[in-house]
């Protein structure tokens, strides 16, 4: 009985790995941006999708630390599905915006799509667009997994409300 309780099933292992990878990436990328907020502000401006300086400042100020916060929740296993939902809501539009900019660059420069490199403001500096899109697709997949399946191994507080809030398993 004890053996069964202490052993990890494959989906649980997968969920734990997904949580730690996603959380780690969010914390790292968030901290890089938070350490250089001016650079992030300038990169955001390059997208030319936000007219108002108030919104631009708000995103430059809030997003890096918000990512760190979500990453910490995922690493610690707190409000996992809520945090995964948020990460999906962030990753999908960001990926589309980056894709849109890459398409505009391709149109303007007539170079092969996968040869495009630019700093998308994601926290990793200048990146190859195809690698970035693959990376984001992978993170979206991980977020989707965590959002869709319940796996609360090694979670400090898997859910905030209901019976999930009490289900702490190690």
């Amino acid at each position: 009985m004890n053996e069964r309780r202490n052993s990890f099933s494959s989906p649980e292992r997968l969920a734990l790995l997904a949580r730690w990878i996603l959380g780690g990436v969010f914390v790292y990328m968030g901290l890089v941006k938070a350490a250089h907020p001016v650079d992030f502000l300038k990169l955001l401006r390059q997208y030319e999708i936000i007219e108002s300086h108030l919104y631009l400042n708000f995103i430059a100020v809030a997003l890096p630390w918000f990512e760190v916060f979500c990453g910490l929740l995922l690493l610690g296993g707190i409000a996992v599905r809520g945090a995964a939902c948020i990460s999906l809501l962030m990753l999908v539009p960001f990926t589309l915006i980056v894709l849109n900019r890459a398409l505009a660059i391709r149109e303007a420069s007539a170079i092969a799509f996968c040869a495009i490199r630019f700093d998308c403001g994601c926290g990793a500096g200048e990146v190859n667009i195809c690698s970035k899109l693959l990376e984001n697709s992978f993170l979206i997949l991980l977020s989707g997994l965590l959002f869709a399946f319940r796996a609360n191994r090694w979670c400090l507080r898997y859910g905030l409300v209901g019976r999930e809030a009490l289900a702490v398993r190690r």
Partner: protein, 210 residues
């Protein structure tokens, strides 16, 4: 199922609210925090340059969205803002002018701490315009006393020099005293003139490269 989805969405809402509160507090606590209300890019909007290159070449692409603006484009933009662009030769002449020793001519570096410490025009004052409260008290009196204030940043696509010049103008420095060295530090470092490292007047000067 529907109940569960509702619960997750509620959780997401709580996480968002807590995350935003965390972010705003962290920004206030951070020494590099930004103001929420300051317009860091005043003036009319325009296409903002970015840098892009092919993976297998160092080709830089010039287009509406991307690339380095030409000297003529930059100069026209600066004049449009009431600023006077100068080129590398004019900047060196001003640096070698005896007025520079008397601080009647002043160089102002509009880059951040790291870049300033890595090398700046000898004797240049730092004015990182994103943190004016830190730099303006030292820079402004010197600029008000000078007859020529040369503002520069990295050069190329960098716009910080022109925004810094506009901030100085707003702070009371006469427009006719303000010059923007548009090619900036990138050109200066390769123009056969010395570069000062570390703090202003640190005494550590990298000799001119031929």
């Amino acid at each position: 199922m529907r109940q569960e989805l509702k619960r997750v969405l509620f959780e997401a809402l709580v996480v968002s609210a807590a995350g935003l509160a965390f972010a705003l507090v962290a920004n206030v606590a951070s020494p590099r925090g930004l103001s929420l209300t300051r317009d860091y890019f005043p003036g009319p909007g325009r296409n903002v340059p970015g840098i892009v290159s092919g993976a297998n070449s160092n080709r830089t692409v010039t287009a509406a969205l991307v690339g380095h603006a030409t000297w003529e484009t930059v100069a026209a933009r600066l004049r449009g803002k009431g600023l006077q662009p100068i080129d590398g030769k004019e900047a060196i002449d001003l640096f070698r002018d005896p007025q520079y020793e008397q601080e009647l001519t002043v160089f102002v570096d509009a880059r951040d701490d790291r870049h300033y410490q890595e090398g700046h025009v000898p004797g240049a004052y730092q004015f990182d315009r994103y943190y004016p409260e830190k730099h303006l008290p030292a820079v402004l009196p010197v600029c008000l006393n000078a007859t020529k204030v040369v503002v520069y940043c990295a050069g190329g696509d960098c716009e910080d020099s022109e925004f810094a010049a506009l901030a100085l103008k707003e702070a009371g420095v006469p427009q006719e005293h303000l010059f923007v060295y548009a090619s900036g530090m990138t050109e200066w470092a390769t123009n056969g003139v010395p570069v000062e490292l570390g703090e202003r007047k640190s005494g550590t000067v990298r000799p001119a490269k031929p």
